[in-house]
């Protein structure tokens, strides 16, 4: 299976479907408004948030520019504490490694804390095939697992569900009729998942960060399932993309200060867990075995290109909330594991540019994503880069002719004035109340989905002349 296996590539169809779903529209507006307001509040609460974000970006730039060294250092640190390190070049390798660990340690019941990386490698089906029961323990992920779906937001995976649909899904799963108020549904979740934690012999997590200097991996959750997953089972497997490594222990607070503020506006998420190796002698709980799986799966390929900056992403979801496109179409329309502006870059890069023709265009290039991003990733710039890759072909005769005409007109002021005059005349004649609902020729594609503003009665030059006289 590939990096971003798709249910469909029909971006336009899926978007139209999402736009026509009033419940989803309401949920998306509520979520993205709340989180985006939190993002702004969070940054505003830091006196020098912009400098701190620059600093975080520089740490990431540095880490990526010396990635091989930091990976080796990370490995050495993990080994020193009695942990094990596994190198997974592909998703398939990673799946095989995790299944092998489970078999060797004789694990039958795995619990998972939310991890996009394990989502990316489609781990659950592989474990189930090997006879290992897997339970997602983030409440939103649990709902999605029971419903047989994919997450639709980086930090709010079940945003597309309502309390009614959640009650329906869980009632069916548990074979009992559940009330649909959030508190009692969450308590049902607690009850069911506590039982899973009690049984579990393997805990699977991702890693928000990994510190090369100490071999520490960092998990951030609000529910506490990350803590349970690393505390109860006797085996802990953490799967991380290689870009997650940062050099030193003291670099960590820089990111911790930004991650929750960027994602939700919290000063810190409720639980930040720093795991350094397995439990030490005399400790009463915590995993006895610690395994770290380092995943490449296409990342090194991107590392060598100008798209390297995309590897700085800390998966906070802020760009999703800020994006006028995501805010309307939601996560599922993007088709990949990652959605929103950053997904529009990752999916084409790791899956294929040709198979995802619409994604680089699912953006107005307004820059709201970059403004919200804790590491100030220049997403619009990379989207344009992808568009360039896409259209790196010989222009057709028609295109050459059109651009020839365009440059000829732009080079001759009289021709430019005349063309403007003609277009204005034509367009204004067909306009109603200042808007065109139908344009001729290729313009019809535009007006099929939105009206076009009619040109003003006078051009800028004409008004300028009047003002001057």
């Amino acid at each position: 299976m590939s990096y971003a296996q798709h249910e469909h590539h029909d971006f336009l169809g899926a978007s139209a479907q999402a736009l026509a779903d009033p419940t989803l529209q309401q949920a998306l507006t509520r979520l993205t408004d709340t989180l985006l307001a939190g993002n702004r509040r969070g940054y505003a609460a830091l006196a020098d948030s912009s400098e701190l974000r620059d600093h975080a970006k520089r740490i990431k730039e540095h880490s990526l520019a010396h990635l091989d060294q930091y990976l080796e250092q990370l490995e050495a640190s993990v080994l020193k504490f009695g942990g094990k390190v596994h190198w997974a070049a592909t998703a398939e390798d990673a799946r095989r490694i995790v299944v092998e660990i489970a078999k060797k340690a004789n694990c039958k019941h795995a619990v998972k804390s939310k991890s996009m990386t394990s989502e990316e490698i489609h781990l659950n089906p592989a474990l189930e095939q090997a006879g290992i029961e897997v339970t997602e323990t983030d409440f939103g992920e649990f709902i999605i697992q029971v419903a047989g779906e994919r997450p639709s937001h980086l930090v709010a995976p079940a945003v597309h569900h309502t309390r009614e649909s959640i009650a329906r899904v869980l009632s069916k799963h548990l074979g009992e009729q559940l009330a649909d108020d959030p508190k009692s549904l969450a308590m049902v979740g607690r009850r069911v998942l506590r039982e899973k934690f009690r049984q579990a012999d393997m805990g699977i997590t991702g890693a928000n960060f990994a510190v090369a200097e100490t071999g520490t991996i960092v998990l951030v959750t609000n529910e506490g399932n990350g803590r349970l997953t690393t505390t109860c089972p006797r085996v802990h497997v953490a799967i991380m993309g290689i870009e997650k490594v940062i050099p030193r222990f003291i670099d960590l607070p820089v990111f911790l200060k930004l991650l929750a503020r960027g994602a939700t506006g919290q000063t810190l998420s409720v639980y930040t867990t720093l795991i350094t190796g397995p439990r030490q002698p005399g400790e009463l709980d915590g995993a006895e075995e610690f395994h770290l799986v380092l995943l490449d799966n296409g990342r090194s390929k991107v590392l060598a290109t100008p798209f390297r900056e995309s590897l700085q992403c800390i998966r906070c979801g802020a760009c999703l909330n800020a994006c006028p496109v995501y805010r309307r179409i939601g996560g599922h329309a993007y088709g990949g594991v990652y959605s929103g502006p950053i997904g529009s870059i990752l999916t084409p890069l790791y899956d294929s540019v040709a198979a995802n023709p619409h994604l680089p265009h699912a953006s107005s290039l307004c820059g709201a994503c970059q403004a919200a991003c804790p590491v100030k990733i220049n997403i619009p710039h990379m989207l344009i880069g992808l568009r360039e890759l896409q259209h790196y072909h010989k222009p057709s005769r028609w295109e050459r002719w059109a651009y020839g005409l365009w440059s000829m007109v732009l080079c001759r002021p009289w021709a430019y004035r005349w063309a403007l005059w003609a277009a204005r005349l034509l367009l204004r004649r067909n306009a109603q109340n200042g808007w065109l609902s139908q344009m001729p020729g290729p313009g019809a594609e535009w007006t099929k989905v939105r009206d076009f503003p009619a040109p003003a009665a006078k051009s800028f030059r004409e008004r300028w002349k009047e003002l001057e006289s």
Binding site: R30, L31, L46, L52, H55, I59, E61, H62, A65, H66, D68, L71, F81, W87, A89, T137, D138, F139, G140, H161, R163, P182, K183, A186, R190, R198, E213, T214, N222, E223, G224, R227, L228, T230, T231, C232, P247, R248, F249, I250, K257, T267, L268, S269, V270, T272, T273, L274, I275, T276, Q280, E283, L284, D285, G286, S300, L303, A304, P306, R308
Partner: protein
């Protein structure tokens, strides 16, 4: 070549290919960037931030006041089974004995041996020491140790922690400076598990309605001992 070597070789090559001029900057020094501090009154800042995150802070003048506060929390929950970790303030205040006097079912982590999992799952309240507090964020920092297991602050539905005034740090950066006092590389190693807790367990997965206690404790109480 082993799988590991092939892997690293590929990364190394990608690093070299992608490191255009200026793309391999040195590791930046932070200087003072991002340091917020705890303000003129870190204790009240801590309590404020903790309250904003949904927890509750108390300042107790002496050991009687600490006991009194604990007692009222236990009463409010009608709690019977209490789990205490050992060492630190809990020992200094002789808390296990004093709670037993109140005819509560009290166990300490010294009483629990080898695999304590079944025990931990059934307690009503967990009482722990803290490693540090952070005023800037209202966070409690816990460090795992033989007599400070992770479960005590995680499995019971209510978590009470005891801290000494001197354990309060101003800023998140201060916590990391303890391990790297030179401001660069690590001097003392972190424990197997260092946990920062900021408020009660939360989820907003159902229509963004905030529900507490979905996995971890639904309540967190922090008692700062002043005396």
């Amino acid at each position: 070549m082993s799988q590991r070597e092939v892997f690293l070789q590929r990364v190394k090559q990608a690093v070299v290919e992608g490191n255009r001029a200026g793309a391999a900057p040195p590791l930046p020094e932070r200087a003072g960037v991002g340091y917020q501090g705890g303000g003129p009154d870190p204790v009240s800042r801590f309590c404020q931030e903790l309250a904003a995150a949904g927890g509750k802070g108390y300042v107790a003048a002496d050991s009687d006041a600490v006991l009194h506060t604990i007692q009222s929390i236990l009463q409010a929950h009608n709690a019977r089974k209490i789990l205490l970790t050992c060492g630190g303030l809990i020992d200094r205040l002789d808390l296990p004995a004093r709670l037993r006097e109140l005819s509560l079912e009290v166990r300490t982590t010294d009483d629990v041996q080898s695999d304590p999992r079944e025990d931990f799952f059934s307690d009503d309240v967990g009482i722990t020491n803290v490693h540090r507090l952070i005023a800037e964020t209202g966070s409690v920092v816990l460090a795992s140790k033989p007599n400070e297991p992770r479960s005590a602050s995680l499995l019971p539905p209510v978590h009470i922690c005891l801290a000494d005034h001197s354990q309060l740090l101003s800023d998140l950066f201060d916590l990391f400076d303890i391990f790297a006092p030179t401001g660069s590389s690590i001097q003392s190693l972190p424990p197997s598990c260092l946990t920062l807790i900021t408020g009660p367990s939360k989820t907003g997965d159902i229509e963004l309605k905030l529900v507490t206690g979905v996995h971890g404790p639904g309540e967190i109480h922090v008692i700062i001992c002043d005396g």
